[in-house]
Amino acid sequence: MIQALFDWPTPRALAVWAALAVCLLLAPLVVGSYALSVLVLVLYFAYVGQAWNVMMGFAGQLSLGHSLYIGVGAYVSAVLFVRYGVSPWAGAVAAMAICAVIGAVIGFLAFRFSISGVYFALLTIAFAEFSRIGFDHISFVGASAGLFLPVAQRTHNDLLHLRGSPVMFYYVMLALSALALFLCRALRGSKTGYYWLAIREDQEAAQALGIDIFGYKMRAVVLSAAMTSLGGVFFAFYYNNLFPEQIFAINRSIELILGPIIGGLGTLVGPLLGAFVLTVLAESLRSATDALGLNLPGLQLLFYGVCLMVVIIFLPNGIWPALKGRLGFDDDRRSGD
């Protein structure tokens, strides 16, 4: 796994990555506050998409309930901060640990009793839904009235307590998505990564080749849950308000999986590319309709639906696999080049 980290991509790919990194690092100096908020969203979706992709894209386990981990991550860190003054970074560790346990419980129930495919997806939805209803009734965390983080005008960015300007949040999210990308890249080239792909492709054949299917699927679920919860921590401190009805909602689970699906399931670049394409298009659409004075609720969801259909019809493997060949770099499948 360590070795895979230093397994450099082709020079051309490296150049593109370097250019992208420079653009992203310098972006806050150039773009306005609105564009910056869109970029924060892009990075957020790239991050949680990457986390979801570990489970679905790599190990082939469809979760439609990832809002559960976002929600629990957000609530754990926010409650620790609001009630006990615990730093969000320490809160993040707690959130990851708790979500890892939740992921392990769901994974254990599903894999121990051979629940797979759509039934597994239904199980993930069920857990997210009853968490939503549960949190609606826990008065300690504000119940359905919501939980609010203190917002005060500050003269400087307090990274330790994640209180500060959008620019700070932008860099935090950039660092998180970059870390997730590196982690996934290392995993993809490791024994675990190969085993996940084998399980995704054919469980029975994978098992006959000596793969402990239960163990490796558990690893994927636990890792994905822990990673996703960090997205929730960020969400809590960025938006400063949490409502169970919103954060655990199924459309939150759906919107985070659209990026990797449209970008390219199981690829490393897919979640990033999909998040960028979808978020930027959706935001442009919103500003266009706003400029025209139209008020069309639900238009964004309709738009997501159209995007999904177009990609499924014309690029069934997602945008990235189609684009990669034309760009002349092939870092997802190093062995295939």
Partner: protein
């Protein structure tokens, strides 16, 4: 003591006795063939040895260790590699990646596994196709991929389920050559299910004939093909 000892294994599917009290040995370094008409219980025997099905009764012992009832992956670790009669390639992975997955059974290092995969692919003649998607392979190539993948797990005994089916005579001879070389050079023990008698006669030192889930004959290939019961139920009189 034989490397693989199968004792009185049985399997019933909803009242149908697929395998009834079958026993046989596979000696270390030997090549044993399991033959018989369709539905005789050959693949069911394989599935019980490799752990896809748990036998209703009887025992399977590999090098003195009971393996019946273990999971497939544990049995693979114990040293049994298998191919599937209906091939199961990892379609969206490259040919090489397919075999790397197999090779990782014996090592934690992907680069070592890649080397092993290359060797296994060269052995079955798929070296030039290493970078292609497994989905793009033809059926005979997929069969060879199954073999390379199973071999890459470093088994002590390789179970081959009809890997010659659909191959042309020349390809069959090449495949026979591959297994002979493997058997001679690495002392790999092989248990095969095969309908292609050309391959059975060329490879096997011992043949077991199953019919309706029971052993009806066992012995050296020359003797088995002359057995009246085998001729009647499987090979037909014209085989003489």
């Amino acid at each position: 003591m034989a490397l693989l000892e199968v004792r009185n294994i049985s399997k019933t599917f909803r009242g149908l006795r697929a395998v009834a009290e079958v026993s046989f040995d596979v000696p270390e370094g030997g090549i044993v063939a399991l033959i018989g008409p369709n539905g005789a219980g050959k693949t069911t025997c394989f599935n019980m040895i490799a752990g896809s099905f748990r036998p209703d009764g009887g025992t399977v012992t590999l090098a003195g260790r009971r393996i019946d009832g273990l999971r497939q992956d544990q049995i693979c670790h114990a040293g049994i590699g298998r191919t599937f009669q209906i091939v199961r390639p990892f379609a969206q992975l490259t040919v090489e990646e397919n075999v790397i997955v197999g090779a990782l059974n014996a090592t934690g290092s992907v680069s070592v596994a890649r080397g092993e995969a290359r060797r296994a692919l060269d052995m079955v003649g798929l070296g030039p196709k290493a970078g292609q998607m497994a989905a793009s392979l033809t059926l005979p190539e997929r069969k060879r991929l199954e073999i390379a993948r199973a071999m890459a797990t470093h088994p002590r005994i390789l179970l081959l389920d009809e890997v010659m089916a659909g191959l042309r005579p020349l390809e069959t001879d090449q495949m026979v050559q591959v297994f002979r070389t493997l058997n001679r050079e690495t002392d790999l023990t092989i248990l095969l299910i095969e309908h292609v008698m050309r391959a059975v006669m060329a490879l096997a030192g011992h043949v077991i004939v199953l019919n309706h889930g029971e052993t009806i004959c066992a012995g050296p290939p020359e003797q088995v093909v002359r057995d009246p019961a085998v001729l009647e139920c499987y090979l037909g009189e014209e085989a003489l």
